[in-house]
């Protein structure tokens, strides 16, 4: 957690080379509404924090968007993201590699 926080600080204070960082914070912001601030889930909502490798996370989102995996709302949500955005989410939520 500390490392990620420090990384965020570093990214947010940097120049154009890391201009994606606020985008990541904002994308995560969309997940937080249901999955909690750190993706921990709770009260019936699945945790998405460090449950998958990056590849697994991307594959899961693809399966949701293709309706290949049963879902309530994730199919409808996942189709709103670009592949680049999914990659950013995967990098954030996946297990450290």
């Amino acid at each position: 957690m500390k490392i990620r926080f420090a990384l965020c600080l570093l990214l947010f204070s940097g120049g154009s080379a890391v201009a994606q960082a606020p985008d990541t914070a904002l994308l995560i912001g969309g997940c937080q509404g249901c999955h909690g601030v750190s993706g921990q889930g709770g009260n019936g909502i699945p945790s998405i924090k460090a449950n998958h490798s990056r590849d697994e996370f991307v594959a899961l989102m693809r399966a949701f968007s293709a309706n290949e995996r049963p879902a309530t709302i994730m199919g409808r949500i996942s189709r709103g993201y670009t592949p680049e955005q999914i990659a950013l989410l995967a990098a954030h939520y996946a297990r450290p590699q």
């Binding site: 509404g33 249901c34 709302i73």
Partner: protein, 430 residues
């Protein structure tokens, strides 16, 4: 609070140049951000700023010491929740380093970049976020003013009237009584809200007063998640609910609170034992006074940054804005909040604003273990905002699901609705 209230107000009373600690500005992207309104938009903005942009100095101005959410108010009405479980304080936000000021704002001076409070203090800012919420349009329905709302509660703006008033009336209603709901035309706060309310009132009537009826008089012909709601009403509450749209003379133009009677466009008069009037709405007074609203009564904003198109340097969030096709929902206000904060942080650091993607998930409880949802992902479009093509939409209808999958789907969405509420209120106030 990091700073005592007295010290803060003393500092706030100084001219802007003196009040700002220069040392803070030495940090990249530092600046004073003032947030007016501590609802879904304002509280989310404060939390997101503290979590992600430590260089920002955050002041949240909210007149009330506690916040009762509109979401889940309908479950209080059904007797499935109590008021305490939907009411939150600002202590945790303060503990996270947000300067929380419980005062009314009397004026926003965008030229001088300061906000004047009811106690006379001036709060200077570098960037201002306003998440003011809505006001009811008293008198838009003839006879429906604040006094009439004591007999015919709205239960739509919890700061004016707790949902508990309507709950008490519902409890006092005789079995075999008539509950009348008056529903406004678009745009209004929480598009599926009146229909969740119909469902939750019917849930209570079915259990406690099964001979009673609910008549909903609607000023429009269609509504959010309509087929899903109507399927569920037929399935769960047969014979209890009658919904009438505008083309079936559903538009109420006049009420008589003394007679407990409403009158439709074409002159039909209906009495009710309990009458819930959800009147037409507009952006809250503070936003209109600050010049943020146009002739529609709502606040136009720039889609890329959510800045007001009317007044420079003010970001406007949530229900007060013109942001269709995004609904006026708590989830959208929270999504707006995060984007506005990120834009402000970028602007103070001399960077371009981040690209905008907005999210909405609105669950409705229709019955016990029966939830439905609408989801949307939005980006700035050629003209305002646009839903990302192929994404979003509502839960599948009964006919599209096997019996087993249907039960599971509705149960899961009711469970996830509770989970959403737990997560988003935890984010704002936990």
């Amino acid at each position: 609070m990091a700073l005592s209230r007295r010290a803060f107000l003393a500092a706030a009373a100084l001219p802007a140049a003196l009040a700002a600690p220069r040392i803070a500005h030495a940090q990249a992207g530092a600046g004073r951000v003032v947030i007016i309104g501590g609802g879904f938009g304002g509280a989310s903005a404060a939390r997101f700023a503290r979590d992600n942009f430590p260089a920002l100095d955050i002041t949240l101005i909210e007149r009330s010491r506690s916040f009762t959410t509109c979401p889940y108010g309908n479950l209080v009405l059904a007797g499935r929740r109590d008021m305490n479980s939907i009411t939150f304080g600002y202590e945790k936000l303060a503990a996270r380093g947000v300067r929380v000021v419980h005062q009314s704002v009397v004026a926003v001076d965008a030229g001088a970049k300061q906000v004047r409070l009811a106690d006379g203090a001036q709060v200077p800012y570098d960037r201002l976020i306003m998440s003011p919420g809505i006001d009811l349009r008293w008198g838009a329905i003839e006879g429906y003013d604040e006094a009439a709302s004591e007999r015919m509660p709205h239960g739509w703006v919890p700061s004016l009237q707790p949902i508990s008033l309507l709950r008490r009336q519902l409890e006092a209603m005789p079995d075999g009584g008539r509950f009348v709901m008056v529903i406004p035309d678009n745009p209004f706060r929480c598009p599926p809200g009146p229909y969740e309310r119909i469902s939750m009132v019917a849930d209570y009537l079915k259990r406690a007063k099964p001979r009673s009826k609910l008549i909903a008089l609607d000023a429009k012909n269609g509504f959010s998640k309509q087929p899903l709601f109507q399927d569920a009403w037929a399935e769960l509450y047969p014979g209890i609910i009658e919904w009438r749209g505008a083309s079936s003379d559903g538009r109420v133009t006049r009420v008589n609170a003394a007679a407990m009677e409403v009158e439709t466009e074409f002159g039909e008069k209906l009495k009710g034992d309990v009458i819930n009037v959800i009147p037409p709405q507009m952006a809250a007074k503070i936003a209109r006074d600050a010049g943020l609203a146009n002739q529609s009564g709502w606040c136009p904003i720039k889609p890329a940054t959510l800045e007001s198109t009317q007044v420079e340097g003010i970001h406007v969030l949530g229900d007060a804005t013109i942001a269709a096709p995004m609904p006026k929902s708590g989830f959208v206000a929270s999504s707006h909040a995060k984007h506005a904060v990120a834009c402000i942080a970028a602007s103070l650091a001399g960077r371009a604003p981040p690209s905008a993607t907005f999210f909405n998930t609105c669950y409705s409880h229709v019955g016990p273990d029966y939830g439905i949802s609408i989801v949307g992902v939005f980006r700035p479009g050629a003209n305002g905002f646009a839903e990302v093509e192929g994404s979003g939409g509502v839960s599948p209808r009964n006919a599209a699901l096997t019996a087993e999958r249907r039960r599971e789907h509705r149960q899961l969405e009711a469970l996830y609705a509770d989970g959403w509420y737990y997560s988003i209120t935890g984010e704002m106030f936990g």
